[in-house]
Each structure stands twice: as structure tokens, then as C-alpha cells.
């Protein structure tokens, strides 16, 4: 009897700490939004909010993929250059298809298909080399990061690849259009988040990711196909990058060596701000979504004020990111033991 009471207590306490952990990122987001309103009321304008959410969709979608990779104990540094490379190939392909199919839906659908295929293949390569080649994910994806970046520079002759104007006009609504008042990129972001949430929290695949990230050896002894599951997380990441690229290309209709620079770090930052543990074993999709929005929001707020010297934008961003994660971890540390 005696032993039951403390047990109950600890269950109740861990319940409370779980809530803090989950809601931490949301509270940080609200605080940041409040700061935005105080700095400039234009922050709450419908246009501004929709601009911001649409912008966060790229990093957000990529970061949802990254949540799986990181939860399963991996890391993918190649996502930014992969996005640039896929965008480059998509543009070249669609430009050459115009001669055959005209600037119509066929051309665009083939471009989208190629993008998804490329993403899947790129993820498969990262996954296979990491697991079968037994090389650290950091090194493998650092390598592919350099490879994709230089490939897109090569494809563009060091300049910029531009999408055919005819195709651009038809493809444009994928970024600029909206459905029932919500911009299409935001809808895609939401859809990817919902699917990601179900996949991570309510399927066997998701549970395996948690298990592998917590302890790879134990997972292997429990008859989980560790290599297969890990490779699948990289493929999922590749598909997410492809989806982000499909939305990115119609925005400016171009790709160059400067496309997607540092997206990998932003995606990883979004995942960590959201409460996923960098060394694996625990992932939160909704936290990642909030993290991605927060990162975009910081840049947006800085553009809405001239109170802070432009040269210090990076400093402000850095401080906010560290403080956000600190608050979250601090509340977690306090109530966890």
C-alpha cells in the first residue's frame, strides 16, 4: 500500500511536466507575437500574417521531415542544397518539356513528379550510405550537401536558372493562390503536419523511430529493422524537401547557387525549438510547426521595425532562439525528476 502512493504522485507529476513540455513552444510563440504587435500594429494585419505563414511553409515542411530523421537518431545537413538542386532540375526539365507539351498542366505535373522522385532518391542515397556504409550521418550529409550545391551551380553555369514565362503564369497559383481564404502553401504545410503527426505518434513506424533514437542496440535486439527504418526516415525527409521545392519554384521561378542556403540549419533549429531532442528518442511534430513559424516571425518582426540596427539582426535572432529553448528546457528540468 505504501509503495502505491508515491507511485501515483509521480504519475501525476510527470503528467504536469508533460503539459509544460508540450505547451512550452506555444507559449514562446504567443510571447513573440505579443512583442510583434507592440512593436508594430501592422504585424496583426491579415496580409502580414498570411505572408508570414506562407513563408514559414518551406522551412516548416522540411523541418517535419527532419523531425523524423532526428527522432530516429540521425541528422540531415543536405536539405538546403537538395532543395536548390531539385529546384534546378525541375526548372530545366519543365523548360525543355514546353517544346513538346506546351506550357500546360502536363508539363507542370511532370515537373512535380520528377521533383518527388528526385527527393525520394536523394533521401534513399543518404539513408543507404549512412546505414549500410556505416558512416556518420553528419559526414554523409555534409558530403551530399556539397555535392548538390555544386551540381546546381554547375547546372546554372554559375548564374541563375529561370522558369519559362508561360509555365510560370500557370504554375504561379501554387504559391500565390488560396483556397477558402487560406494560401495553398499553408494548406500543404498543415496537411504535411497532420500526416506527420499521425505517422509519428500513431503508427508502428513512428514507435520504431522513437525506439531507435532512444537506443539503437536495444531496438535491434527487439527485432526492429533498424537500417530499413532509418533509411525510410531519410526518404521521408527527401519527399518533404521535394514538396517544399514544389511550392518554392513558383514563387520566384528561379534557382541558383544561392537558393536554400542555410535552410538545413533553420530546419534543425525549428525541430529543436519545438522540443525534439537533438540526440534522438523523442520527437514532436506540432512543436516543429511552431518552431518553424517562430523562426520566420523573428525575421518578420525585425523587418517591421527600424529600432534595431540592421547589423544586429543576427544577434537578436540568436538570443531569441536560445532563450526560447532555455525556457522550455528549464521548465522541463524543474518538474521532471
Amino acid at each position: 500500500m505504501n509503495s502505491v502512493v508515491p507511485n501515483n504522485k509521480s504519475v501525476a507529476r510527470s503528467q504536469a511536466s508533460f503539459d509544460l513540455k508540450t505547451w512550452g513552444p506555444f507559449i514562446a510563440l504567443m510571447a513573440l507575437a505579443l512583442l510583434g504587435v507592440l512593436i508594430n500594429p501592422a504585424f496583426l494585419g491579415l496580409d502580414n500574417l498570411s505572408n508570414m505563414l506562407t513563408r514559414s511553409a518551406f522551412i516548416g515542411i522540411i523541418a517535419i521531415g527532419a523531425t523524423f530523421v532526428i527522432t530516429a537518431g540521425g541528422l540531415d545537413l543536405s536539405v538546403g542544397s537538395m532543395a536548390a538542386f531539385i529546384a534546378g532540375v525541375m526548372i530545366i526539365l519543365m523548360n525543355s518539356l514546353v517544346e513538346q507539351f506546351g506550357p500546360g498542366l502536363t508539363t507542370i505535373l511532370l515537373g512535380i513528379g520528377a521533383s518527388l522522385l528526385l527527393g525520394l532518391c536523394a533521401g534513399f542515397i543518404n539513408g543507404m550510405v549512412t546505414t549500410k556504409g556505416k558512416i556518420e550521418a553528419f559526414i554523409v550529409t555534409l558530403g551530399t550537401m556539397g555535392i548538390y550545391r555544386s551540381l546546381v551551380t554547375y547546372l546554372a553555369d554559375g548564374g541563375t536558372l529561370s522558369l519559362d514565362w508561360g509555365v510560370r503564369d500557370i504554375y504561379r497559383p501554387v504559391y500565390y493562390g488560396s483556397l477558402v481564404g487560406i494560401p495553398i502553401p499553408v494548406l500543404v504545410f498543415l496537411l504535411v503536419a497532420v500526416v506527420g503527426y499521425i505517422l509519428l505518434n500513431h503508427t508502428r513506424f513512428g514507435r520504431y523511430c522513437f525506439a531507435i533514437g532512444s537506443n539503437e542496440k536495444v531496438a535491434e535486439y527487439s527485432a526492429i529493422h533498424v537500417d530499413r527504418i532509418k533509411t525510410m526516415t531519410y526518404m521521408l525527409q527527401g519527399v518533404c524537401v521535394a514538396l517544399a521545392t514544389i511550392i518554392y519554384v513558383p514563387r520566384l521561378g528561379s534557382a541558383s547557387g544561392a537558393t536554400g542556403v542555410l535552410w538545413e540549419l533553420e530546419a534543425i533549429a525549428a525541430v529543436i525549438i519545438g522540443g525534439t531532442v537533438l540526440k534522438g528518442g523523442h520527437g514532436r511534430i506540432w512543436g516543429t510547426v511552431v518552431g518553424a513559424i517562430m523562426l520566420t516571425m523573428i525575421g518578420n518582426i525585425l523587418n517591421l521595425t527600424d529600432a534595431i540596427s540592421n547589423y544586429l539582426n543576427g544577434t537578436v535572432q540568436g538570443i531569441i532562439i536560445i532563450v526560447a529553448v532555455y525556457l522550455q528546457r528549464a521548465s522541463w528540468r524543474k518538474s521532471a525528476p
Binding site: 554559375g158 548564374g159 541563375t160 514563387r251 541558383s256 523587418n303
Partner: protein, 322 residues
Amino acid sequence: MPTTKMINTKMTVAAFAATAALGLPTLAAAQDYTIGVSIPAATHGWTGGVNFHAEQAKERLEALHPEIAITISTASDPGGQANDLEDLVSQRNIDALVVLPFESGPLTDPVRRVKESGVFVTVVDRGLEQEGIEDLYVAGNNHEMGRVSGEYIRDQLDGEGDIVVLRGIPTVIDEERVQGFQEAIEGSDINILDMQHANWNRDDGFEVMQDFLARFERIDAVWAQDDDIALGVIEAVRQANREDELFIVGGAGMKDIIARVMEGDELIPVDVLYPPAMIATAMDLTVQHFVSNGPVVGEYILGSPLITQENAEQYYFPDSPF
């Protein structure tokens, strides 16, 4: 079919042998002067243009002057460029060097060492930190570029209006341009609503402009300073349906923007030149040092002319990647 193929191959071989026989002696005589060109690798639009124009100038100059050989090397960071300079001197035995330094500071000493080995040195665009190293300095004029842009906007708005400015990467180049711009609009009633860095990048240009549009109800003109930024700005303005309210002034001379100026696009009425083709100017002048009897030393500062619909064609290079 096989016979014709064979004949063709044979003829090619024969032709090749003939050229080789005839060509070799001239080639041996052709190595009178070797010019080394060291430039940054094509990592973004403007340096892509530099690479393109360097290659073009090499072909043209070598065809024109058989006694001159040109070798181009590209580096992806200042350290790599310093290595390139050493290799050019020790392996290629160059008589002249044309260098567009990655960064002024780290390359001052390597270029000085090249100079000390008795090579004619031409420095392009980014000046060295010590004076008197180079024989010839060829550069665009950032201050002038800002001034020309500022004067155009001032005149176009009749000295009165609200504008926004998108700046580049925080560097000396950006600083000089903004300074020239501010001097040009000084004394007029032109009000800069805000300046933000868009890092000479399309995506950043798009996002910064979106935020400007959300924040300011009326903007009369945009100084984007750079054509990559300008392309992002155009899309943001289109999205907000505010094309009729303002005009945009970019800079550099990117072919997409020049094409719009040629067509008489009201959103982009002009462009201000800061051409990557300055590398070709530098190579031309360096060759003149060897083939002309006139002296080629000192400074050659390119103007930053306003590109309008009337003169746009002479600045349009459809084959260039930039």
C-alpha cells in the same frame, strides 16, 4: 555506311595531322607572353558573369594576338586564390596577372609577392589594402552607382516622395553605394521610410519587400541596389497588386532586367550598370601593355551609366548566365 564513316574518320585524322604539323611551330612561337587570370568561382550570379566574360575575352584575345596565351583559374575561397597565385607564378611562369581578389585583406600579401617576382599586375574591382602594388587598377565605381540611382529617383519624383531601400550584404561595397545614394537625395524632400538588408539575394528581396508593403501604405519608389534583389521585389509588388504605385531601380546589369528595360516595363524603367564584364576590360588593357607602344599604368574607373530603354541594347548579353 561503314566505308563513308571510315573515310570520314581518316579525313579527320589527316586533317588533324596536317593542323598539328602546321600548327605546332606557330604554337611554339605563340608562347611569347602568358597572362594569368585569377577570379572567384561562379558561386552566385555576378561572379558567374565574371567567369563568362573572362572566358569570352580569353577566346577573343588569343585569336587576335597569337603571341599571347591566357590561363584562367577560379578559386572558391581566399585561401584557394592565394594558392592559385603561387601556382600561376611557379608552374605557368606568367608575365602578367589579372586578379579579382576574393577579399582585399587576405590577398594583399600574396599579390605583392607576385609583383615582386617581376610580373605586371592588374587588380580588378576590389582594391588591395596597400597602395602601389598593382601596375593597373580597373574597377567599377560603387559610390557613383549609388549617386546615379539616387539622382534618377530624385528627378523622377520631382524631389518629393516616400521611398524604401533594400541593401546588400553589409560590406564596404554596400556602404559606398548607400553613401552615394544618400548624397544624391540630400536636400530634397525625399524621405527614406526604412532600409533593410536583402543580401543581394532574390528570396531575401521578396521577403523584405513583402514586409515593407505590409508596413507602408504608400511607397513611391524602391531602390533595390541590385538586380537579384529587384527580381524578388517585383514578385512581392505583383502579389500585393501595387505595380501602379511605384517603380524599382536595381543595379548591376543582369540580362533579365535589361530585357525588361528594353521592353519599356514601367515597373523597371531603368537599370544602373556595375558590369561583371569589367574583367574583360582589365584583360584587354593588360594585353595592350604587351602589344601597344602606349603606356598602360594607373587607374581605369568605369562609369556607372544609367541604362534606359534607348541604350539598353548595348548592355544586353543574352548568352551570359548573368
